[in-house]
């Protein structure tokens, strides 16, 4: 997704090496995805659902 759009930046974080970040984002299981600190989900999801989460995260509240 990062390659597909200049708007998207994607960071893969090794949860055990960054316990503070993992705590801050309440990582209980992996993979855990957090988008714009607003929308989050755990586990692998279909591409369509991932995109849905991205679009949800950029919606104006």
């Amino acid at each position: 997704m990062a390659v597909a759009s200049d708007r998207v930046r994607s960071t893969v974080i090794e949860a055990t090496e960054f316990p503070e970040l993992s705590r801050a984002y309440q990582v209980m299981g992996v993979p855990k995805v957090v988008i714009n600190d607003r929308v989050q989900f755990e586990g692998a999801v279909p591409e369509r659902d991932f995109l849905g989460a991205v679009l949800q995260a950029v919606e104006t509240p």
Partner: protein, 142 residues
């Protein structure tokens, strides 16, 4: 002691047959913060880069190369920026071993082609984004 076994190297070389263009792996280290992990990260990235003549490596220091770190939006070590013909915004925090290792290899290949393996509908939606999206993926090696 190398991190990658001969078998790993062979598998990655096979994957790297798909590399289309140059890729730069920019490493951020900071020995004071996480010496062992930063050394392991540098070693891993160098071992990967040796498997393709299209990959180059640059090592920066988070504390010294502050402007570069800020430009990349990197604030943790060890970190890896995967750059293709331009910076697509692909970052890794921590040593990408195990499951994350295949993510690193996939990222290198995608960055080299600039062609994401996504459905046309997804690509169209992403092209239409009007604001920035910051995705964090928390993962573990196993």
């Amino acid at each position: 002691m190398p991190i990658l076994t001969a078998r790993d190297q062979a598998a990655v070389r096979k994957e790297f047959e798909r590399i289309a263009g140059p890729v730069k792996l920019v490493i951020f280290s900071q020995e004071l913060t996480a010496a062992e992990l930063c050394q392991q990260n540098e070693q891993l990235v160098r071992e990967v880069a040796e498997l393709s003549d299209k990959i180059t490596v640059e090592v920066l220091n988070l504390a010294i190369d502050r402007e570069r770190a800020e430009a990349y939006g990197v604030d943790q070590v060890p970190a890896i920026v995967v750059e293709g013909s331009r910076d697509y915004g692909i970052r890794f925090y921590g040593v990408p071993l195990g499951y994350e290792f295949s993510n690193l290899i996939d990222s290198i290949i995608v960055a080299s082609t600039g062609e994401p393996a996504l459905a046309e509908e997804t690509l169209a939606s992403l092209r239409a984004l009007a604001s920035d999206v910051e995705i964090k993926v928390f993962s573990t090696p196993t």
